[in-house]
C-alpha cells in the first residue's frame, strides 16, 4: 500500500486499509456536516448555528452523535423487523465500498484495479436497495411513497451519471481511476503543460451532468423528493430513530463526500494540483511525499465540490416527482449521449 521502508505483513495492511477506509468516509462526512450543514447554512439564513459545544460549536457533531447513540432503537410493530434493521447498514456499506477505489496518492489507495470507474458506478447504486427496503419494511405509507420515489429517482439518475463518465473514460483511454488522474496531470493544453489537462475543461458538459446526477443520487434538494420532510415527513427515514437514523445521516453526507472525491478524480485532476506536477512522466516518477500531500489535495477539492452541492441544496425548492423524471430522461440523458458522441468523434479525429 504505502511505499514504506519496513515491510508490513498482509494482516497489517488489511488493518490499515480498514482504518483508512473509516477515516476516508467519516472525516469528510464530519467536515461536511460541521462546515456546511451547521455553519454555512446558518450564515446563509442569517443565524449563527451551533455555538456552545466547543469553540464555534465545533464539537456539536460529537454531542449529536452521543445523543443519537443513547436513544432507543425503535422498530414499528408492523414492520418487517429484520429487514428494517438491515436497511441503514446496507446504505452505509455502499458508501464504504465506494471509497475503496478512490486513489488519494500515487500509492495511497485501498485497491487499484483496471475497471475502477465501472466498479464505482455499480457499487454506488447498492444504496438504492437499502433505501427501497427501508421504505417497504417500515410499514408506513409515507415511507412507502418515499421509498418508491427514491427507487425511481435513483435509477433515473444512475444513467446520466454513467453516461457523463463515459466521456471522461473515452478521453483518458482507461477505466482505471489512477490512470485517469495521471492522464489529466501529464496532459497538456495546446502545448502548455503548466496546469496539466483537467477534464473539466473539455468535459464541462459531462461535469455539470455528473454533479446534477450526484445531487439526485444523494437525494439533496432540489431532488429531495424521496425525503420531502414537508410532505412525506422524511420519507423512508420516517420510522428510524437513534443510531439507525444516525447511519442514514452519516451515509447521506459520507456519500456526498465520496462522490465529490470521485468527481474530483474524474474531472479535476485527482490528487495532482495545477502548477505542481513538476514534470513527472508517469506514476513511477512521483515521489513519496505526494502520498501525504495527495490526500490533502483531494480533501480540498472534495470540500470545493461539496460546497457547490450544499449551496444548491440550501437555496432551491424541490422538483415534483414527474418533473424530476422528465428532467432526467428528456434533458440529461440526450445531452450526455450527445456529449459522448462529440467526445468520441473528436478523440478519433484528433
Amino acid at each position: 500500500m504505502l511505499g514504506l521502508a519496513i515491510e508490513i505483513p498482509y494482516w497489517g495492511q488489511s488493518l490499515l486499509r480498514v482504518l483508512g477506509g473509516i477515516v476516508a468516509v467519516l472525516l469528510p462526512a464530519g467536515t461536511i456536516v460541521y462546515l456546511f450543514l451547521f455553519k454555512m447554512m446558518s450564515f446563509m439564513q442569517s443565524r449563527l448555528g451551533p455555538m456552545e459545544a466547543g469553540p464555534y460549536g465545533s464539537m456539536q457533531l460529537f454531542a449529536e452523535v452521543g445523543k443519537w447513540l443513547q436513544k432507543e432503537d425503535i422498530a414499528p410493530e408492523a414492520a418487517d423487523v429484520r429487514i428494517f434493521k438491515m436497511a441503514p447498514i446496507i446504505v452505509l456499506v455502499s458508501t464504504f465500498l465506494l471509497v475503496a477505489v478512490v486513489p488519494f496518492g500515487p500509492d495511497a489507495y485501498f485497491t487499484n484495479f483496471e475497471v475502477g470507474v465501472f466498479y464505482a458506478l455499480a457499487v454506488g447504486s447498492v444504496s438504492v436497495i437499502g433505501i427501497l427496503i427501508a421504505g417497504w419494511a417500515s410499514a408506513n405509507k409515507y415511507s412507502l411513497l418515499g421509498g418508491l420515489r427514491a427507487a425511481g429517482q435513483l435509477i433515473a439518475y444512475e444513467l446520466p451519471m454513467v453516461l457523463a463518465v463515459v466521456g471522461v473514460v473515452i478521453q483518458a483511454g482507461t477505466m482505471n481511476l489512477q490512470g485517469i488522474v495521471v492522464a489529466q496531470n501529464t496532459g497538456e493544453i495546446f502545448g502548455f503543460a503548466g496546469i496539466g489537462f483537467p477534464f473539466v475543461i473539455t468535459q464541462f458538459v459531462g461535469f455539470i451532468i455528473f454533479m446534477i446526477a450526484v445531487q439526485a443520487e444523494l437525494t439533496q434538494a432540489p431532488f429531495d423528493m424521496p425525503i420531502a420532510e414537508s410532505e412525506l415527513v422524511s420519507g423512508y427515514m420516517t420510522e428510524y430513530s437513534g443510531f439507525r437514523f444516525l447511519m442514514f445521516f452519516i451515509g447521506e453526507f459520507a456519500t456526498a463526500g465520496v462522490f465529490a472525491f470521485i468527481a474530483s478524480v474524474l474531472f479535476l485532476g485527482g490528487w495532482g494540483i495545477p502548477f505542481a506536477w513538476f514534470g513527472w512522466e508517469g506514476l513511477a516518477d512521483v515521489p513519496n511525499w505526494m502520498n501525504v500531500a495527495g490526500p490533502l489535495i483531494m480533501f480540498a477539492k472534495m470540500l470545493l465540490l461539496t460546497f457547490i452541492i450544499m449551496w444548491v441544496r440550501f437555496s432551491y425548492p424541490r422538483f415534483r416527482e414527474d418533473q424530476l423524471q422528465t428532467f432526467a430522461w428528456k434533458i440529461l440523458i440526450p445531452v450526455s449521449l450527445l456529449n459522448i458522441a462529440v467526445t468520441a468523434i473528436i478523440k478519433v479525429a484528433v
Partner: protein
C-alpha cells in the same frame, strides 16, 4: 362535493375501467392516506383524508375541529371589553386585525365613532399585522416547497414588525389594544420614524423573496397551472381575500365598503390575477405586502393630531340590537355578527373567519392532483388553524 367536480371524477373512473379491462389480474386497490392531524405541512392540526391511487389523489377531504376552542360560546360569558382577549387568538399571526371588526360592530351598536387619530392608528396596526402575517406566509412557502432558506429571512424581517407592534401596544403576538371608542394609548415617541425604516426593510424583503422564490424556475414549474380555481368556483365556495382575487374577482373590503377606518384616505392598488393557480395566489400576497407597506407610509404622513379615545361610559353596556361588520383581514373576509340584549356582554356572536371558507374548496381542488401538489395547494390557499377551528 359539487356537480362541478364530477367531470374529473368521471374521467378518472373511465380511465380505471379501461385499465381494468386490459389486465384484470393487475387491478389495484387504492390507499387512504391521512395527512395530519400531526403533519408538518398542515401547520397545526388539520387533517386531510386523501384517497390515493399511486401518487394521484382520487378524492380528498379536510377534517377540521381538532383545535376547536369554542370562542363563539365563550364570548357569551364575557363583557364586551373582555372579548378582544379571546378573539385575538383566532388568527394568531395577525392578531390585531381580529379585534378590529368586533370593536367596530360594538361601536356600531353603541352609535359612537373613534376619533380620527384612533382610526388612523387602527388602520396602521391593522396593516402591520397583515404584513406580519403574510411575510411569514412568503417564507413558509419556501419550506413547503423544500427550500429552507426563505423562512429564516421571513422570521428575520417579521421580527422588526413584531417589535413595532410591541412598541405600540405592549404585546408582540396578542396586542389586545383596541378599545370600544378608540385605542388604549397613543403611539410612543419615535415610533413613526422607526416604522418608516421598517417599511423600507420590508419592501427589501419582498424584493428578496421575489428574487429567491418567485423567479426560480423550479418554483414556477411547481406553482403555475397547479390547483386552478376558476372565478365561479371561488365564488360558489365563498373564497375571500387573496384567494378570490387570484381567481380574478376584484373584491376588497378595504375599498368596497365604508367603515370608520382610514383606508378611504389612502391610495392603494387592489391586485388581481387572471390565472387562479397557486402561483397567482402567492403572487397576490406578495403584492399585497408591498401595498400594505405603502399604506402604512401614507397614513404616517398625514396622521391627524387629537385624542385617541372617544367619550365612552366607564361601564360599557351595548344597546340591544344586531350588527354585522366584516373587514379584509390578512387571510380574507373576517366578520362578526354581534347580537346584544343590552347587557354587559354580547348575547351571541357569530364569527365568520376566512380560513374556514377558504379550505372548503379543498375537496374540489385536490381531486386528481399528485401528492406533492397537495402540499403546494394547501400552502397557497394559506390557512391558519386557529382561523379554521376558532
Amino acid at each position: 362535493m359539487t356537480v362541478l367536480s364530477d367531470r374529473q371524477q368521471l374521467s378518472y373512473i373511465a380511465a380505471q375501467a379501461a385499465d381494468a379491462r386490459l389486465n384484470v389480474e393487475l387491478e389495484t386497490e387504492g390507499m387512504t392516506l391521512n395527512i395530519g392531524p400531526q403533519h408538518p405541512a398542515t401547520h397545526g392540526t388539520l387533517r386531510i383524508i386523501a384517497h390515493l391511487d399511486g401518487e394521484q389523489v382520487v378524492w380528498a377531504e379536510p377534517s377540521c375541529g381538532y383545535m376547536h376552542r369554542g370562542y363563539e360560546k365563550l364570548t357569551e360569558v364575557r363583557t364586551f371589553p373582555q372579548v378582544t382577549t379571546l378573539i385575538n387568538r383566532i388568527d394568531w399571526l395577525g392578531s390585531f386585525a381580529n379585534e378590529v371588526p368586533f370593536i367596530l360592530a360594538a361601536e356600531k351598536l353603541m352609535e359612537i365613532e373613534a376619533p380620527p387619530r384612533a382610526q388612523y392608528i387602527r388602520t396602521i396596526l391593522f396593516e402591520l399585522s397583515r404584513i406580519a402575517n403574510v411575510s411569514l406566509f412568503l417564507g413558509d412557502l419556501g419550506v413547503q416547497m423544500g427550500a429552507i432558506t426563505p423562512v429564516f429571512l421571513a422570521f428575520r424581517d417579521r421580527e422588526y414588525v413584531l417589535n413595532l407592534i410591541e412598541g405600540a401596544t405592549g404585546g408582540r403576538f396578542h396586542p389586545n389594544f383596541d378599545r370600544i371608542g378608540g385605542l388604549k394609548d397613543d403611539l410612543p415617541k419615535g415610533w413613526i420614524d422607526e416604522t418608516r425604516q421598517v417599511m423600507r426593510k420590508l419592501r427589501g424583503f419582498c424584493d428578496e423573496i421575489e428574487d429567491l422564490l418567485f423567479g426560480n424556475e423550479i418554483f414556477q414549474s411547481r406553482m403555475r397551472g397547479i390547483g386552478v380555481i376558476p372565478a365561479d368556483v371561488a365564488k360558489s365556495f365563498g373564497l375571500s381575500g387573496a384567494n378570490a382575487r387570484a381567481s380574478g374577482i376584484d373584491w376588497d373590503l378595504r375599498r368596497d365598503q365604508v367603515l370608520p377606518m382610514a383606508w378611504d384616505k389612502v391610495d392603494f392598488k387592489v391586485w388581481t390575477h387572471p390565472d387562479g393557480d397557486c402561483f397567482a395566489r402567492c403572487w397576490i400576497r406578495l403584492q399585497e405586502t408591498r401595498e400594505a407597506t405603502k399604506i402604512v407610509d401614507q397614513l404616517l404622513d398625514d396622521l391627524p393630531p387629537g385624542p385617541v379615545m372617544a367619550k365612552v361610559p366607564r361601564i360599557i353596556k351595548v344597546p340591544a340590537g344586531e350588527a354585522w361588520v366584516a373587514t379584509e383581514n390578512p387571510l380574507g373576509e373576517m366578520g362578526y355578527y354581534v347580537v346584544s340584549k343590552g347587557d354587559l356582554g354580547p348575547f351571541r356572536v357569530k364569527i365568520r373567519s376566512a380560513s374556514f371558507n377558504n379550505i372548503s374548496v379543498v375537496p374540489w381542488v385536490l381531486k386528481g392532483v399528485y401528492v406533492p401538489d397537495i402540499i403546494t395547494i394547501l400552502a397557497s390557499l394559506y390557512f391558519i388553524l386557529g382561523d379554521i377551528d376558532r
